[in-house]
Structures are given as structure tokens and as C-alpha cells.
Symmetry: C2
Subunit: 378 residues, 2 copies
């Protein structure tokens, strides 16, 4: 269980297979996000239809509501949300640190207030792992501190804390978990500082975990800094373990980061854009709310084989968006997920065929540059 | 085209087939409502899967947004919303009269202000028919005035106006429409007054339209008054034409009204209840927001074969509702529509088998009485 087989590489790009109790992940792979145990506006059978193989849920949100013990009592996250494929939960750390003034960090953990009712709670590495045991995802994450990436002193302190917490996460998983049922991934921190990243990669690699994430990116640095950090950090990760870049999912970033050796991605982008009336295409984003689409009888994207593009015009989709019909969310989510999943499959095939560099070059040549971190909806 | 074949009767209940350019309606039949050219939160392919055979859209809403000329230019309502089965549009009259102080009625028509931007518009019988021609539904409705049903003077005046408007609707359809492509149905008014209903039925029958609706019910009268009016009015309608009861759709009302000879129904109830977190069952409504369902691992309704009941627990659905996940709307809409469509199919089979009285008695014996008009969400 949880073995990773590296099938082939093209430059830094890798194609592989990661075995989980709920089936194999064919990497590189993109995971839609089901924050509250639902990929927003998409039915689980539609995730199947789209070819989704990994779905993510958020530990903080499910701990707050409906509670991880309830999910456990109802048979775990897979049965709860009726998703029978591989699942991943984050540690809750990133979400808790995002609470800003509602949280306070110390050496042992983080005390925070619920965004729902202001009640006080505390996460420690042990608590995070226990919650993730209750949820029961196939891949669980070490509790980490994700600092703003550009301040060296803050990054150093957070990274040292992350290492201590990774050890404690591993010990808790060993003590109360089942490593045949749940794989604990480590998270490398270090901001944009090569020496701290290198130290973090080395310390985490020494824990011999079944997979590694590169954390603390896509949180405020430039794209050049993000890609530079990946180029420097990824080669320091164990080659025989999957590599996960958290929170990244625009088409151009997926291509750029697969080219730098990332195997697993997750991002709310495709479903969040859908709720804002935006469609992803191979030539950039369309704001379908725009008047120019009011009479447009074409599909979102010519040649796209998703249900939405096979069935509906831009004019109809614009009408649904303007009229605030829920169906707009559904249909745009299907399209946006379809595009990202298709791009991932194309990249995997290209890596296996040895044609990935040409694929990536062609894709990026026609994709308009866009700093996803400057977008208000990311 | 538009021929109605009466297959069999059991008491007043009828089973028949109404041919339309987009396929046959096997009656009795229930039509989900797609007010703005979308059955809320349900994909057209899911309507197919549910066995929907007739869908309704609202003339007032589509006239206001996106505009009937645009729908026409995009190929008509069927292509616009990607629903290839039979469709029905109302006349816009009921919606306009519901605007209250925003509208003013005269002998010739109604002047009103848009609920969206306050702009002034005017519907006449001719205008309503022209809009419905642009939309292109299989069944279109005469422009009528739907009065409060209990005030005799108001009802008499509105009914006389409705008759004049029915003639003008018919003339406009003859002048500028295509009766092989669109069937114009008349609407009998008369409130709860038998003599006015009888006169209205006779006058409309003399117009020899391909179908007739009983209007002005389910708008404030008691259920006893509604059913009594049906018992008196329906026998006065031509036997060889389908009979449509507008705006009715609770399980018990469907059974009671099929028993009184109604063939066609439409109602927003199943999708509106879904958005309020309520599920229809054969034993009444469940408010799934209730804490009692928080740990309930059963389906909405034992034995139900819909996707929602085959797949999800009440506990999960409650979580989705409380967490305001869009998926709750989707899954509850599917279930509620599935139940109503299943009941309609069961009634049709029972009528054909000659067992309808026993079916209706059994159904109503286990269904808790509920005045749908007293419900805040109807």
C-alpha cells in the first residue's frame, strides 16, 4: 500500500503511479477541493464522469462542522460524501493560520476561534492527526506552520516549528494511526530561501514519510519566486516519493510545475471561478458575465468535450449567470474541472511518450500569462 | 399534431396521450418549472434521467430577461435551455398580476413595471402570444386575468375579461402563429362560483382549443373549495382535450386532482422546497435542517430509487444544508422531483389497470393532511 512507482521522466517532469487503499493515483494528478466534504456544485458521480482520481477535504472546516467524530461514526469521509476514490485531507494548519487575529500560535500548537461562532479551539500536531484519523482520508498531512514567504526571520522560525511538529505528527500517527490505511505526508517549508528549503527538505526526508508536499508557496510570492523555489527544492526531495504542491491549479501553473517535477496538485480555482461566472480555457479565462456573450451561440471552448460545451451556448450560460441560476455554478464547475483534468491527462501521456517539453512549450505559447496570485478570486 | 387520445378512465381519473412536436405526453403528467429557462439546480440530462416529459418556463421572466427575441434568435426555448422534450409557457398574466402595485389593468391589457429595474412594459393578449411565439414552446396559454377567487364581483369582471382576451389570443395565434408547432390552451376562470365557472367553461369550449386549463385555483381558497370547484368544473370541459391545473404539485393534491380528472400539472414546489432544505416523502415533508437528522445514517426515504437516496445519508444532506452547500439544492431537487414523477407514473399505471381508486385511497391514508396553501414556501 502507498507505494509510488516512477514510470518515466522527461527532464524534471515525472509520470508515476501512487497506490492507495481507494485505488491508484496516476500522476501527475489534479485534485478538486471539497472543503466541507462537497466539491461545490458537483455531484460525486460527476467527479467520476470527469475522471477525477483524487479529491481533497479540509480538516479545519470538517472539524468545526459537522465534527470529525460524526464523520468517523458515519463511516469516514469516503462514505460520508459518497466519494469512493482516493482522498486527501490537509492538516488544518493553513486554514487556522489564515484566521489572522482569531488565532495565536505557540511552541506547542495554535489556539484559535471558530469563524462560525467564535468558540475557542486548539490544534496541536497530535490533535490534527487525530482529527485526520477520524476523517479517514487516504493521504493525511503533517501539521505545519505556513508563514508569509518573504521574511527570513519569520520563515526560519516557522520552518523550525514545522520540523518539530512533523516529528510529533509522525509519532502520533505511529501511536494511534494505521499506516496501511493512511499515508502521512510531510511538508517542506522555507519560503523563498534556498538554504532554509534545503535544510527543511533534508530534515523531512530523514523522517522517511511516504510522500512530501512543498508548502508555503502560492501565498504571496511572485510566480518567478515560486517556480525558482520549486526548481531548487524539488530535486532535494526523495525521488521515490510523490511530490505535492499545495493550493496551485491554474492551467499555466500546472504545466509549469509539472515541468519542475510536481506530481500532485489541489486548488479551489476551477470551482471558485465557476461561482464567479468565469470559465477557464486553453487561451485564458472568459468572464461570461460580459455583455459580449449575450448573443454568442458558440460553446465556452470549441472542441471541448465536456457536458457543458457539448450542450450549452455561451449566451445561455451568460443568461444563467446574470439571472443567478444555480445551474450556472454547476455547468461552469464541470467545464473548469474538465479542462484541468484533461490538461493533466495530456501531460501524463506526453511524459510517457517523451514529448512533454514540446507539449509544455506549445501550451504556454498560446496561454496568456497571468499571475494567479494577483487575481482577486484566487 | 397535438391530438389527445383518451386511453381509459377510472371514475373521473383519466389516462391518455397528448402528441406534441417534441414527443408524446403520457398523462397524467407533472411538469417541473424552469422559470428562467432552468429547472433550478437540475441539469437537463437529469430531467431526462428522472423521466420528465414536460417542462414549463415563464413568459414574464423570459420576456424581462434575457428577452424573447434573443431566445428566438438562438433557436427557441428548447435549444436555448437544451431541453428537447415537450415544453409549456404560461401567458405571463399570472406573474404580471402578482406584481401588485407595480401593475395596472385595463380592458385592453396590463401595464406593469419590471421587478428588476422598474422599467415600464405592457402586455396585451396579442403581445403575450407574440412573446410565446418567439419562445416557441409546444403548449402556449391564452392571456388571462387570475383574480382572487372569493370575491364574486371581482371574479365576474376578471372572467369576462379573460373570455375577451381568450378570443384575442386565439385570433393572434391564428394570424401570426403556427398551430402545427404550438398548441394554444384556454384558461377557465370563475373563482369558487359554479355558475361563473360553468359559463367560462362553455365559452372557452366554444373556441375549440386543443387543451384547457383550470386557472384561478391554488391561489388562496381552501383545499375543500379547490377540490369542489374541480368536481364541478372539470366535467364541463371537452372530454377529448387535455386538462391542465396550473400551479398545483404537492403529492396529496396531485392524487386528489387526478381523481377529479386533471391530466397536466406544474408546480415550483419540489425545487423550492429543496432550496429550503425540505424533502417530500410518501409520509409527508422532512425538514432536513432539523438536528434530529444530524446523525441519521438512513436515506431520505427507504425504498426510494433516486440518485440521492441510493447514495447519501440524511446526516450528510443535513450537513450540506447547514453548511449552505449548493449540492444540497441539487440532491434535494432530484429527490423531490423523482417522488412526484414516480407518483404520477404510478397513478397512470393504476388508471390503466383499473386500480386507481384503491391506489388513491391507500396513498392518502398514509399521507398526512396538509393544506399546501397555508405553507409559507408554496
Amino acid at each position: 500500500m502507498f507505494s509510488y512507482t516512477l514510470q518515466t521522466t522527461t527532464g524534471a517532469a515525472r509520470a508515476g503511479v501512487f497506490q492507495t487503499p481507494h485505488g491508484p493515483l496516476l500522476t501527475p494528478v489534479f485534485a478538486p477541493v471539497g472543503t466541507q466534504a462537497s466539491v461545490k456544485a458537483v455531484e460525486p458521480r460527476e467527479l467520476d464522469e470527469l475522471g477525477v482520481s483524487l479529491a481533497l477535504a479540509n480538516t479545519y472546516h470538517l472539524y468545526i462542522r459537522p465534527g470529525d467524530a460524526l464523520v468517523r461514526d458515519l463511516g469516514g469521509i469516503h462514505r460520508f460524501m459518497a466519494w469512493n476514490g482516493p482522498m486527501l485531507t490537509d492538516s488544518g494548519g493553513f486554514q487556522v493560520f489564515s484566521l489572522g487575529e482569531l488565532r495565536k500560535v505557540d511552541v506547542d500548537g495554535v489556539t484559535f476561534r471558530s469563524h462560525l461562532d467564535g468558540s475557542t479551539h486548539r490544534f496541536t500536531p497530535e490533535k490534527s492527526i487525530q482529527i485526520q484519523h477520524n476523517l479517514g482520508a487516504d493521504i493525511i498531512m503533517c501539521f505545519d506552520e505556513c508563514p508569509p514567504p518573504l521574511d527570513r526571520d519569520i520563515v526560519r522560525q516557522a520552518t523550525e516549528r514545522t520540523h518539530a511538529w512533523a516529528r510529533r505528527s509522525g509519532e502520533e500517527h505511529e501511536r494511534s494511526g494505521d499506516s496501511n490505511r493512511q499515508a502521512l505526508f510531510g511538508i517542506v517549508q522555507g519560503g523563498i530561501f534556498p538554504d532554509i528549503r534545503a535544510e527543511s527538505a533534508a530534515i523531512l526526508a530523514s523522517l522517511d514519510l511516504p510522500g512530501y508536499a512543498v508548502g508555503g508557496l502560492a501565498v504571496g510570492e511572485s510566480k518567478t519566486q515560486m517556480l525558482g523555489t520549486l526548481e531548487q527544492t524539488v530535486p532535494l526531495l526523495p525521488e521515490n516519493k510523490p511530490r505535492y504542491l499545495m493550493g496551485v491549479g491554474s492551467p499555466e501553473d500546472l504545466v509549469n510545475c509539472v515541468a519542475r517535477g510536481i506530481d500532485i496538485f489541489d486548488c479551489v480555482l476551477p470551482t471558485r471561478l465557476a461561482r464567479h461566472g468565469s470559465a477557464l480555457t486553453r487561451h485564458g479565462r472568459l468572464n461570461l458575465r460580459n455583455t459580449r456573450y449575450a448573443t454568442d451561440s458558440g460553446p465556452i471552448e470549441d472542441g471541448c468535450t465536456c457536458y457543458t460545451c457539448r450542450t450549452f451556448t455561451r449566451a445561455y450560460l451568460r443568461h444563467l449567470i446574470v439571472a443567478r441560476e444555480i445551474l450556472a455554478n454547476q455547468l461552469l464547475s464541470l467545464h473548469n474541472l474538465h479542462l484541468l483534468l484533461t490538461i493533466m491527462r495530456e501531460m501524463r501521456v506526453a511524459i510517457l511518450d517523451g514529448t512533454f517539453p514540446a507539449y509544455a512549450e506549445r501550451f504556454l505559447a498560446t496561454y496568456p500569462g497571468k499571475e494567479i496570485h494577483s487575481s482577486p478570486v484566487v
